[in-house]
Symmetry: C2
Amino acid sequence: MAERRKFRREGEERRRQDLIEATLDCVAEHGIEGATLRAIALRAGVTAGLIRHYFPGKEELLQAAYATIVERMTQQAFDFLDDGATTPRLRLAAFVAANLTLPIADAKVFSLWAGFIGRAHADPALSAVHREGYLGFRDQLEYLLAETFASANRPQNAGALRRHAIAVNAIIDGLWIEGCMAGDLFETGELAQIGIETVGRVLGIELEGAGA
Amino acid sequence: MAERRKFRREGEERRRQDLIEATLDCVAEHGIEGATLRAIALRAGVTAGLIRHYFPGKEELLQAAYATIVERMTQQAFDFLDDGATTPRLRLAAFVAANLTLPIADAKVFSLWAGFIGRAHADPALSAVHREGYLGFRDQLEYLLAETFASANRPQNAGALRRHAIAVNAIIDGLWIEGCMAGDLFETGELAQIGIETVGRVLGIELEGAGA
DNA sequence: CGGCTTGTTATGCAAGCGTATAAATACGGC
DNA sequence: GCCGTATTTATACGCTTGCATAACAAGCCG
């Protein structure tokens, strides 16, 4: 009667990552309130008590999960920039487009973002994670813009560059949200095209053509 | 001993509104998970059981609260447009600025928005409320843009107008989020100025000067 | 191959949740 | 002034949650 469940011992890092991944799945599917310790454990294939062996409490697990998704989003947005050494304006155009198409502009990713953002106001630790991600994103974007302006022989001073980064970041974020929340209202690739066109106009640099 | 609490009977509409307002306060302060029936009732100055007398369940109360805040935000954004019969481009500039300053660009309002957005994915009713608000906002914005283009002798066809509305909506939303989440990173009025400047460039219409 | 460590399961607990229901009281109509 | 009604309070129930702890076994070390 009541046979005890068989199990395997996993490496510490592996288990932690599995638990984080299970947490992200739960948040994405049923919102942050669907991410109970029992649901997370079930999805990770362990029992709930084990979580306390790897994280001091639920809060720390959520923070780790949020940090993971923030880093992943920033990573996905930028890592392809190293692909081809094309011109800065093509790289910028590709960057904008990448942020407005899969896998970044995805309902599941947005669900994660929204779930955590809602909690960030009540949890300073989550808020700090968000700010770090935001500033990191904007810094890298600023560098990308500096390259583009330089290639167009229109170097900008620090203040102008910062304001441009703020504006372009807003365009990307805003379109990203529109696409995630109401993707069915737009044709495939429409938001990416609008994004490239809009950013181009804001910078005064044509991004759409092949452009050297 | 154990005196029963005194109370006053309020009109139905008044009580419903009080409960909704208390719900919004709770969500704004401690996130949507802080909006328990007991906390809401405490803030509204009643006992928890009463809520069930005015709403079938907690879900319906949350939906009513979300509908209220969505309508309020849209209202605040547009009602001042009737103030002075100035030129369309001044009206547009004022509209952009209004969305990026108090009381719309406010941490509490954002906290509400974020709290509900996080739940919208799991609750189709909330999702519908959001979409209605979004489309309403965009429609009114589109009308504002049409006026502005007309006054500049550059009428746009329906498709171009729609794309412009999508882009401008994204700029406003994106800057709004930046301001709400990291307001301390910007000077007073800086985001409004960036917004006006950016929208002007996207439309190809100068919005900053007095401009007829 | 037997013991030790510790990753893992199993069980329990107190608190808080949304909901249901009965008792009480405020207040308008007579 | 009193009665009837329905708003409001009070209490309880069943469930779920995060957390604590004890029992157990997997796998390494000798």
